[in-house]
């Protein structure tokens, strides 16, 4: 009887350890998502706030949803910055580069994060563009169906930044 009671006690104590570890993993995941969003938003804001941005491209960004490659496709080639090491900045490559998901070093891909751009409804000017970035720290790619997408978006918190239009409003 005593052995049985002790076994139950020990087993219930041992069961708490995975819960503690899970909390640790989730905290790490939150931290990585925030760091990645900071990394991505800084570059996106720098690219979109350039003085060679045109109003026609800017307007097309309202309502944009997709990954970094798709965002790049929305911007004309004359807008993309150049790199000192040669060639144009490729957001589809530079944003996920060197980032991993989980703890085993799996590479972060474009499908593991999602960018949305919109002109906020409550601002009097179309010169402000809101940008959100969501990312996952598990191999949970952004889904294809609308219903699954909404569920995916509730699983991962959005990180937000605003960009001011600094380009040429006549073009």
């Amino acid at each position: 009887m005593a052995v049985f009671v002790m076994a139950v006690g020990i087993l219930s104590m041992v069961a708490l350890f995975p819960l503690g570890l899970r909390e640790g993993v989730q905290a790490r995941s939150d931290l990585k998502q925030a760091m990645f969003a900071d990394h991505a938003l800084n570059q996106i804001v720098a690219v979109l706030s350039q003085t060679n941005m045109t109003w026609s491209v800017w307007k097309k960004l309202d309502g944009f949803e997709g990954d970094a490659t798709k965002l790049q496709g929305k911007l004309s080639s004359g807008i993309m910055p150049r790199r000192l090491s040669g060639g144009a900045v490729d957001l589809g490559k530079t944003l996920p580069e060197n980032w991993t998901i989980g703890a085993d070093g799996t590479t972060l891909k474009n499908q593991h994060f999602h960018i949305a751009c919109f002109i906020p409804d409550d601002t009097p000017s179309g010169r402000i563009l809101g940008v959100t970035v969501r990312s996952t720290d598990t191999d949970d790619p952004y889904p294809t169906t609308e219903r699954e997408r909404r569920a995916w978006e509730t699983r991962y918190p959005p990180y937000y930044a605003e960009v001011l239009f600094n380009g040429d409003p006549t073009q």
Binding site: H39, Q43, A46, N52, G78, P81, R83, L84, S85, T94
Partner: protein
């Protein structure tokens, strides 16, 4: 007798399990500590660059005579040099406030060395102040600390050709960047220690400690790398 043996066996198993648990917890704790140490060093480096770069001005637009020994702003994968405009009101020896907003010439190399010089009110440049913001000597010399290494700066510019006030083309290396990123590596390493204990109680000997008498009656502990 059987009951005593069973109870003793269970006790030994439980104690061993607890021991393993504490050992694993301690390794996990130390790994986390090393990781946060590494990120702390990295944050100091990136934070310093971020603060300085946030006050950066385009030096190709200021008079040549104000530059520090005619050094232009320069951005390469191994080193960045730029000018910032910072400052505040400082108190002079007479107690009045003196406007001391000034140009600073800041450099960073990829090994973490930061230098700063300030344009003084009399038009001269102050002595160079330098420090290593990536791995201060008291951290980098310790074997149980993580190794933090910055590998290179990535620089991006707005498209197009840029000209200075005299109409000359500014080379990419000297252009004011649109943004820059820095790539770094953090390597965790450290020593593992064994903690041990031995006893040679009444008196199977050991001895040869302080004045022997079989070292009355030794229980020894040690920490071994």
């Amino acid at each position: 007798m059987i009951e005593v043996m069973v109870a003793a066996t269970i006790l030994v198993v439980i104690v061993m399990m607890l021991g393993m648990l504490f050992q694993q917890t301690s390794v996990a704790w130390r790994t986390g500590l090393m990781r946060s140490d590494g990120y702390m060093q990295l944050r100091a480096f990136i934070g310093a660059i971020q603060r300085d770069a946030g006050a950066m001005i385009d030096a190709s637009r200021i008079p040549q005579s104000l530059l520090c020994n005619n050094q232009k702003q320069k951005f390469s994968s191994g080193e960045i040099k730029f000018y910032t405009m910072t400052g505040t009101l400082r108190t002079t020896s007479s107690g009045s406030l003196q406007d001391f907003r000034a140009l600073n010439f800041i450099t960073y190399n990829i090994n973490g060395r930061r230098t700063q010089r300030r344009l003084e009110p009399d038009g001269t440049w102050s002595e160079e102040e330098s420090s290593n913001v990536l791995a201060p000597p008291n951290i980098s010399a310790r074997l149980d600390k993580p190794q933090v290494r910055a590998t290179h700066f990535n620089i991006a510019y707005q498209q197009g050709t840029e000209y200075d006030d005299a109409g000359n083309v500014i080379s990419d290396l000297n252009r004011y960047p649109l943004f820059l990123t820095v790539e770094t590596e953090v390597t965790q390493h450290g020593r593992l220690y064994d903690v041990g204990a031995e006893c040679s109680g009444p008196d199977r000997r050991f001895g040869t400690g302080p004045s022997d008498a079989a070292s009355k009656d030794d229980i020894r502990t040690w920490v071994q790398q």
